[in-house]
Amino acid sequence: MKTRLQEVLEARRAAGEKAFIPYITAWDPSPRITVQAVERLVRAGADALEIGVPYSDPLADGPTIQAASERALRAGFRLPDLFDLGPELVRVAGGVPLIAFTYANPVYRWGWAAFCRDLRRSGYAGLIVPDLPVEEAGPLREAADAEGLALVPLVAPTSRDRIAAICRSARGFVYAVSTTGVTGVRERLPASLSALLEEIRRHTSLPVGVGFGIGSPETAAEAARSADAVIVGSALVKRLAALSQPGADEGTILDELESFARSLASVLRKPEEGVPKP
């Protein structure tokens, strides 16, 4: 089954370029800011967007995204807000696919099938569930397939003989976790990354994205040498966190977010084309 997410990423690959996938947490610190941030990130060159679903126990996330989840929950986020927010996000994203990044429990509680139905109805194109390994993902995968949503699986540096089964289950793209660890910016990516990506490509022709630890144009360029897509979360979330500081200037912070995102996207494009203009 070819999903919209896969088509978008393949189109970038066909052009000899790499895709840029930013992550932000929904409602951090308000739904209005989430809409504005998505608009800015799309303008800066995002090919798809991950929208984090705030959760009380985000155990795959480092301190930056944990704090974003806490801010969003304090702001009053409840799961139905994810669906309510969808159409507005879709409007400002203008065709750029949205992927929900959520832990398993809120999905289970809502119902695997109901969650996928409501996700699709509100305009999302896919989902990522970091605490649902391939062995446990059966019911959700079936529900996602039925709605034409891409359930994107993760492959870790420790996956080894599990890679084949994970790739068989993949839809949209395969999300390669750059390092063993939780989300968060790192100075360097491990040298073994390209070997991991080679191994993944032996088992799938789907695009491969790399995430976890990428927070600068340098690390983005490094990841892009072997990946089809580069995912950046904490470095962006850290910039949005400034909005929750007293006396924060919204316009300046969003401008900074956009120009930083642009600096990431630019290293993924062919030099002659440059960066998409606003």
């Binding site: 009380s56 155990l59 398993a104 429990n105 970091p130 062995e135 080894r160 599990r162 063993t180 939780v182």
Partner: protein
């Protein structure tokens, strides 16, 4: 059929809901466990450490004055409070510590609530020459400052966890995050019959020594099976340990006592089975305290060791099959039982264990003097004396 099944399920509960990075480590742990559990040297070491280091077998004690006080069935206490470090937790940490060493790991990590599992892990790590880091909610480091110092004394590093509710749940999140980062060289000594498969299986098997001993001791002393077995349930490791050998005896009533905190109706409790719904946390599918949208709700209990919003998946299974009955005991009732046992038997129980004592007394009243209740006295109460003192509660009347 023996549970869990090959997918780590007890009926519909259990499983492995963890980040992909940990999956190969969990498979390796399962292989290592089954390999060493059958190994002659490992078994000999385990037996020797349990006997000469932890002080097993622990006594089975007939609580004569408590029995008289209740005026019904005989109450027998399985004295896990008399083990080295003062709680049943040592049974499991010796097992997992040896497993770490046999598997070639030099470093262990653990989560802790009351600090008992942290102390037991730090103790075994010191003895086996393993480096040790313990994650503990900041709130708990205040409630249990003495145990923090004990762990440091034993050479462990204690990391206070500030995220979320800063209690056991968050300490476990942080331990899992740390394990994800250091999975190649670190052994995670999980303290309860929870978490992803194979932990619920491994911890139960290391804790069943409680029930195995109690069963043969009771045969020796009273020539019979108990009519009821009572144990407190937070994550549920002492309860699973004492229940397990009795599961096959349908005539033995099994009662798990959850922390009802300020009362089940108030919402301020830690009774995941009686007050929660099925959900996914810390790698397992089990009963959880959560809101209607699947956000995990903080638990409340006077006892830090029971202050956990989930419960081991085998308990969830035994709850749904009805084989084990789960009841609630409030903070207030637990503190009263704490005083009662101190005054009548000269035994100061852990507040966790006081929950089991409280229910056992109530149950004994409804039963005949010819009947026998076996209670898991899972830990001693030294660590809780300060908490009880601060409460200023004085239900017993005189110890002021």
């Amino acid at each position: 059929m023996a549970l869990p099944d090959e997918r780590g399920r007890f009926g519909r509960f259990g499983g492995q809901y963890v980040p992909e990075t940990l999956m190969s480590a969990l498979h390796a742990l399962e292989r290592d466990y089954f390999r060493w559990a059958e190994d002659e040297n490992f078994r000999r070491d385990l037996k020797r450490f349990l006997a000469d280091y932890a002080g097993r077998p622990t006594p089975l004690y007939f609580a004569e004055r408590l029995t008289e006080h209740a005026g019904g069935a005989q109450i027998w206490l399985k004295r896990e409070d008399l083990t080295h470090t003062g709680a049943h937790k040592i049974n499991n940490t010796i097992g997992q510590g040896l497993l770490a060493r046999y598997s070639g790991k030099k470093r262990v990590i653990a989560e802790t609530g009351a600090g008992q599992h942290g102390v037991a892990t730090a103790t075994v790590a010191a003895r086996l020459g393993l480096e040790c880091t313990v994650f503990m909610g900041e709130e708990d480091t205040r409630r249990q400052a003495l145990n923090v110092f004990r762990m440091k004394l034993l050479g462990a590093e204690v990391v206070p966890v500030r995220s979320g509710s800063a209690t056991l749940k968050d300490a476990m999140n942080e331990a899992i995050r740390h394990w994800v980062e250091h999975v190649e060289d670190t052994f995670y000594v999980l303290g309860t019959v929870g978490g992803p498969h194979p932990y619920p299986l491994i911890v139960r098997n290391f804790q069943r020594v409680i029930g195995d001993e109690a069963k043969s001791q009771l045969f020796e002393k009273a020539g019979r099976l108990p009519d009821a077995v009572v144990a407190c349930v937070g994550g549920g490791s002492n309860a699973m340990g004492i229940f397990y050998p009795f599961l096959e005896h349908d005539q033995v009533r099994l009662v798990g006592v959850e922390a009802a905190g300020k009362g089940l109706a108030t919402g301020l409790h830690a009774a995941a089975l009686q007050g929660g719904k099925p959900g996914i946390l810390h790698g397992m599918f089990t009963y959880l305290l959560q809101d209607e949208y699947g956000q995990v709700r903080p638990a409340h209990s006077i006892s830090a060791g029971l202050d956990y919003p989930g419960v081991g998946p085998e308990h969830a299974y035994l709850y749904e099959t009805g084989r084990v009955q789960y009841v609630g005991v409030t903070d207030q009732q637990a503190v009263e039982a704490f005083y009662l046992l101190a005054k009548l038997e000269g035994i100061i129980p852990a507040l966790e264990s006081a929950h089991a004592v409280a229910y056992a007394v109530e149950l004994a009243r409804q039963m005949d003097p010819g009947q026998v209740i076996l209670v898991s006295l899972s830990g001693r109460g030294d660590k809780d004396v300060e908490t009880v003192m601060r409460l200023g509660l004085n239900p017993g009347g005189d110890p002021a």
